[in-house]
Assembly symmetry: C2
Homo-oligomer: 252 residues x 2
DNA sequence: TGAGAAAAGTTGGCTGTACAACTTGAGCCA
DNA sequence: TGGCTCAAGTTGTACAGCCAACTTTTCTCA
């Protein structure tokens, strides 16, 4: 089996999924074409059908292939879905699209958490949190304002970083903080005076807001963030299907 | 096993997933509490561990529980994820949040597809499509403008409906059209004159745009739609994790 | 008492098997 | 030609078992 670039580590079904993804994106089966049967793939890669199904499940969830009882799988498209981290980290995302990420910490404070923050971060009333305000840039152009609340322990690590550190999530990862789950909500808000000043837009102008709550594998909240993007700089895409649905629409 | 309401049909792991979801939402394990082990659940429900794992995989993807090697699963939250159809169909969504959906067809045309439309719907150049413009309301208040392109065959069914039919996707489903996959993209646009007139907002004002491309189980495109919501009426939420990622952020 | 080692418990990953449900295509017959 | 039946092919569901990797608890010993 050709060990494809980037997919050489980890479980067999993940490497297989990476392999198949590369093959699909290289057009090996054509757009709208049909994949070999699970049995064939199992023989071809020397694994069991169960493992093949796990790999195909990943591609299915990412919207690369369909699946339907009775007929072979069909190539839906070559939609490149980003990794969890490219969605979590502005820096990783910027790099993945070939842009130069930038960040400047405007303000950082350690203070008492208000009731809403306590609830979102699962903290006891009276806990302290770190509040961080940052301006994010793409190729030096201001794109987004980031307001993040961290629990005390995590925030302390952030506070030790340089004020102009580009990434905050990467140093955290290096210190053993593991991000595992996140919930993102996207809607529209009006620019406050502070937003307008930093982003260089009109006060009261529209911004795309992404609120994010991330947790570690044990379910402990790690950050609660509100990002505000200038219009026209970003779009959020999600694939869903009858089989796997994680997206929902809410009354705004 | 208590067959929970609404989950009585289909595969065993789906019924089990529905059961567990109900139990979690009823607080049987507490917020942040730990689930019984897979083995215990298997015995309790009289199924194999593999089936339990499939059921838990569903809950995992929906962000209800975490999973982590070595320790029992933890209840993340009781986030109610909507079904695929509540996201696809404005009507279903409105009903699910207890509002009264409304729809008025402003315009419907059968015409030649332009190149972009051909590509999105996978049609040969020169194909005909149906173009539908609708105003959608929630409790009689205008909320959203919907512009949808249908392939000829599907569009013909739509054209036969009453102009003030509330739902379009439901009649299609009744006639055997099966929606299976969709890709949604959310960003911000400025209201055109037509948008402003229908929604009653200012021309050039901001709107939340959701573009959607839906396909059937074979991967054949069924509709390509662009919805424009008034600000403050809607928000889109997605859960993702290291294990399952289907959301991505794009340069706008 | 405290720290370290061992044991028990739990999920992740992989294999193999069997049958059910469904689609497709070939072949047959009117 | 047209429609029907039937067989082959394919994915979905479920079961059973095994070991690895990891976490938590318990126990032991200094």
């Amino acid at each position: 089996m050709a060990v494809a670039g980037g997919g050489a580590t980890g479980a067999r079904y993940r490497r297989l999924a990476a392999d198949l993804r590369e093959a699909i994106e290289a057009g090996a089966y054509g757009a709208g074409g049909r994949l070999p049967s699970e049995e064939k793939l199992a023989q071809q890669y020397g694994v069991s059908r169960g493992t093949v199904r796990q790999a195909l499940g990943v591609l299915r969830a990412n919207g690369l292939v369909t699946s339907r009882r009775g007929t072979r799988r069909v190539v839906l498209g070559t939609a490149r879905t980003q990794s969890f981290f490219e969605l979590l980290s502005f820096t990783r995302w910027a790099r993945s699209i070939g842009e130069e990420p930038g960040g400047r910490t405007i303000d950082i404070e350690r203070r008492l958490a208000d009731p809403l923050e306590c609830e979102q971060l699962g903290l006891a009333p009276g806990s302290k949190v770190y509040w961080v305000l940052r301006l994010r840039t793409l190729s030096r152009v201001p794109i987004m304002i980031e307001r993040t609340i961290y629990p005390e322990q995590i925030g302390a690590m952030i506070a030790r970083l340089e004020p102009d550190a580009i990434s905050h999530t990467e140093p955290l990862a290096e210190q053993g903080v593991v991000f595992a789950d996140a919930e993102h909500t996207v809607d529209l808000v009006w620019a406050a005076a502070e937003d307008a000043g930093l982003l260089g837009c009109a006060e009261g102008g529209p911004l795309i807001r992404e609120r994010r709550r991330a947790t570690d594998p044990a379910g402990t909240p790690l950050e609660w963030s509100e990002d505000r993007y200038l219009p026209g700089t970003v779009a959020f895409t999600v694939h869903n299907s009858v089989a796997t649905t994680a997206l929902s629409r809410r009354r705004g």
